[in-house]
């Protein structure tokens, strides 16, 4: 018996999750919780129960994230360190953002975001170059570019968050409140998801496609910044002063991001299916599977987001569902992907038809995301164009 036991263990038996964690994993989690605890010990007198929960909730969430996806163990601390450094440079004075060298040219909020924009576009170009040149090294460079863009983006948001408090303590709020800010969030989340799948599926060939939407979003950010001067920090209208915003908005953008990612994969699928670039793209099976994974993740988070939205609406507007334009379009998007999932899962439908659908889904999604703010009126009147 003993002998057999040994054989089995020497054999490739899967370890329980906690056993798989390395020392680094534990150190990472410990560091995060320690940081949270430190922040708490320092500022607890200013924090209410929600903020305390958010603080430690964040600690736990990011620990888990880092455990499941090791790269996070590098991103999260880097963002933290650089942001804190940048904040320390402000010395509590907004003006320094345009004077202190490092802030002006590297890690000030607006600057960091500009770097993010540049790096995203560069990464897109590099991915395409890598795709045509079939160069693994170039692809690696592209991936690095995306990572650094994400890093810069998050630093930018973090510092912006701090800046908002410098404007006036009661103006301060999490940077998720207008189109400019959520577009940055969109870029970041979409790219992160892509990076995750790139790592899971061990393929860098889709980067060019996904970074295309991200670059489009970057284009919007630039337009919004330079022609609309809408990159300023605005105080929150009363309706947005709610804790729900902090989870509703990100959840929504996991949805939007996933759907956009799926759509870009779908376009790759369609090209490959038509015999374009077939050789340099992953197999149709992989593309199809990726598309499904993205859409189901998106669907799950979009559902949560919509529900959170309803709960929030019940608090802010007096009804969990008011059929306002944004809500209704969220429903439409949701129904659309529900139908998609049905056909795939129940009818076992596969192939170009679903790919086309996912691609068109992007149109519906972007309308819900942008079009509503542009063309329709409603209660969601944050960030109009």
């Amino acid at each position: 018996m003993m002998k057999t036991q040994k054989i089995v263990n020497s054999n490739d038996e899967p370890q329980p999750f906690l056993k798989q964690l390395s020392v680094v994993d534990w150190l990472y989690a410990f560091a995060l919780m320690a940081a949270a605890a430190f922040a708490f010990s320092k500022y607890s007198q200013f924090m209410d129960i929600y903020e305390t929960t958010f603080l430690f909730g964040a600690g736990i969430t990011f620990s888990l994230l880092g455990w499941f996806w090791k790269s996070m163990r590098y991103l999260v601390p880097s963002v933290a360190v650089i942001s804190l450094f940048s904040i320390s440079l402000y010395q509590g004075d907004l003006e320094l953002a345009n004077q202190a060298f490092l802030l002006k040219y590297l890690i000030g909020s607006q600057t960091a975001i500009m770097w993010m924009n540049v790096l995203f576009v560069l990464s897109a170009l590099t991915y395409w170059f890598a795709l045509f040149k079939r160069s693994a090294f170039t692809a690696k460079v592209a991936t690095t570019l995306v990572w650094s863009a994400v890093l810069m983006g998050f630093v930018g948001l973090m510092v912006r968050w701090y800046e908002s408090y410098l404007i006036a303590p009661d103006v301060g709020h999490i940077p998720l409140s207008n189109l400019y800010e959520v577009f940055i969030l969109f870029c970041l989340i979409t790219s992160l998801m892509y990076l995750y799948y790139e790592h899971r599926y061990e393929t860098k060939q889709l980067g060019g496609f996904v970074m295309l939407v991200v670059s489009a979003a970057v284009g919007f950010i630039l337009w919004y910044t330079f022609s609309r001067h809408a990159n300023g920090i605005q105080p929150l209208v009363p309706a947005l002063q709610s804790y729900w915003m902090k989870i509703h908005v990100p959840a929504n953008f996991v949805g939007y991001g996933a759907f956009s990612l799926a759509a870009m994969v779908a376009s790759a699928y369609l090209l490959s299916n038509k015999g374009v670039m077939t050789a340099s793209l992953p197999s149709l099976e992989v593309l199809d599977d990726l598309m499904y994974k993205a859409i189901s993740v998106g669907f799950a988070f979009f559902t949560i987001a919509t529900i959170l939205g309803a709960v929030w609406a019940a608090e802010a507007w007096g009804g969990y569902w008011s059929w306002d334009a944004k809500e209704t379009w969220a429903l439409i998007v949701w129904l659309n992907y529900a139908a998609w999932l049905h056909l795939r899962l129940v009818k076992g439908l596969r192939g170009p038809m679903l790919a086309w659908w996912a691609l068109i889904g992007l149109l519906v999604t972007s309308f819900a995301f942008l079009g509503v703010n542009m063309f329709l009126s409603g209660l969601h009147s944050y960030g109009t164009l």
Binding site: Q241, S296, T303, G318, G319, T328, A339, H342
Partner: protein
Amino acid sequence: MTSSKRLYELLSSMRFAVSVLTVLGIASIIGTVLKQNEPYANYIIQFGQFWFDFFEMLGLYDVYHSAWFLLILIFLVVSTSLCIYRNTPLMLKELKAYRENATEKSLRAFSHQHEYAYAKNADEIRPLLTQFLVARGFRFRSVQQKDGSELIAAKAGSYQRLGYIFTHLAIVIICIGGLMDGNVPLKLQEFFGQKKVEVRDIPANQVPKVSRLSVKNLSFRANMTLPEGATADVAFQRVRDGYMVQELPFGIGLTDFRIEHYPTGQPKSFESDLVIYDPDLKAPFKHTISVNHPLIYKGIAIYQSDFQDGGSTLQFSAWNILGNEDKPKSISGAIFKKVPFDEGNAQYQLEFNDFRKFNILNLSPDGKGKPHNVGANVTFKVRDASGQANEYVNYMQPLQLDGKYYFVSGMRSSPQEEFKYLRIPADPDLQLQGFMRLKSVLFDKSLHAQIAHRFAEKALNSDAARAATQNKFETSVVQLLGVFADGGYAAIAKMIETSVPQDQREKAAQTYIKIMTSAAFEAYQMAQERAGIKSAQADEHTSSFLQDSLNAMSDLFYYGAPVYLELTKFEQREASGLQLTRSPGKNLVYLGSVLLVLGIFSMIYIRERRIWLLLKPTSKTVLFAMSANRKNRDFEMEFERYQSQLNNLLES
């Protein structure tokens, strides 16, 4: 197959479900494209009578409460319920079953199967296999076959099946909750004529029984507007082009409504101090609500939804604008009040509609500057004897426009139009008097001769010149002033057209304007003297003031009202807009939502897989077969992994 059976088949079918989803989606779009629940007048203006009636018949002005939309929802509920009814037994069966009665023949027919030969003896192998399964999260059941071989049937992730039940149950629950809170009961009562929508604009207590909803009404979403200091125990439910009165089990009083502003001027918070008067309570209690912080009492949630004026009282100086008086009458009024007054020999009625204490405007010429608070304004109508009315918006303080200060009044003759603005220049001490004095002199023909004379004295400096032309000059100035007094620059322009040949008009116009400004300067001096104020000196401030004044006077002829109302004092009284809802379905909806999330996650992230291991001591072989209800890439990879792992395990 009977037709009812066929109907059941259809309704519970996926095809139907997906079609309903699609239809629902498309139907919902309509309501987002066409603005919902507008006053019907707006729709008539927008579409014209014919289409208005047509669209009303289709219920397009409140799509989401129209009968046909409810019908779609009901179809969705029915279809989903039937679907659950139809699939659940299967799902539960799948959830429990191990399929331990699978035959070797059927296993060999699997697309994913592999056979191993092993060297060790069977009772050594068996624990290896079971351990292999357990370690990978499979639960198993084993049965001895007649031929002495043993079938180990295992499965993992069966709870995925619950996912199906949860998601779909959730849909049904959510829809039912929604329908409960929707206006279905009201619709039915309307349909059977027990309730009727009130369209007249009458006080709540005069609204007849058929248009009142009792305290018992299970679910409603109604609004009330409470002026500061007022109390009310009814709210109003908008229904299409009318309303219903919703009676409340308690009274609500508003002691104070507050708006706080950020340093930048945008609103920071809306708060209402409420008092609840409830017969069931010993004493009324106070509670402050604000956006995102409602009060929930006796199952009724009270929300801060908006605000408006609650009847602020106002004091005005009414300046006659076309006559020659330079003293204002004083008029007092209040928002929502109608004040009659007569000017000259005509009767008018002032109707005060809105008062705003703060107005955040961006007055910088390029629009790049910061918006800031320009102070109070009042919106009112002036209705003449024939019932014709123009609408006006007057700002209390002078506004700074490209460096100079003006009293601004917007005017329009119908709500569709944009406001056209009259800009009256403020005098050096930022008052209206300066302009009004000047106007009263310029519009007083009995003074024109005197103006002309003073002007001539200055203009013609040499005695010779005087002797020659003074009379001629003065008469022409008087004539010009007369024309201006009858119609401003427009009248002068007309005069030029009739009396001056084409090629000289340009020049004539310039001369006339020069003359008018200089004459106006004299008039201004006279006005100052009459008022006993030191005379103004002839600098560019004065001249730009005079030019602006002349333009303003010319515009006065198109102002449409006989007076300019200068807001001098106000006592603001605000009203808070409350929304009151009772939604018993809410908890159902939340319950459904939780189910939905659980369901979707288990559907997506739990993968049901089955493994069969047929252990055959006789042939010393193990037959490995695997299946999943969703054959995707993960499954393929898992199969290959297990296949090779079993290989190491058995053939080592």
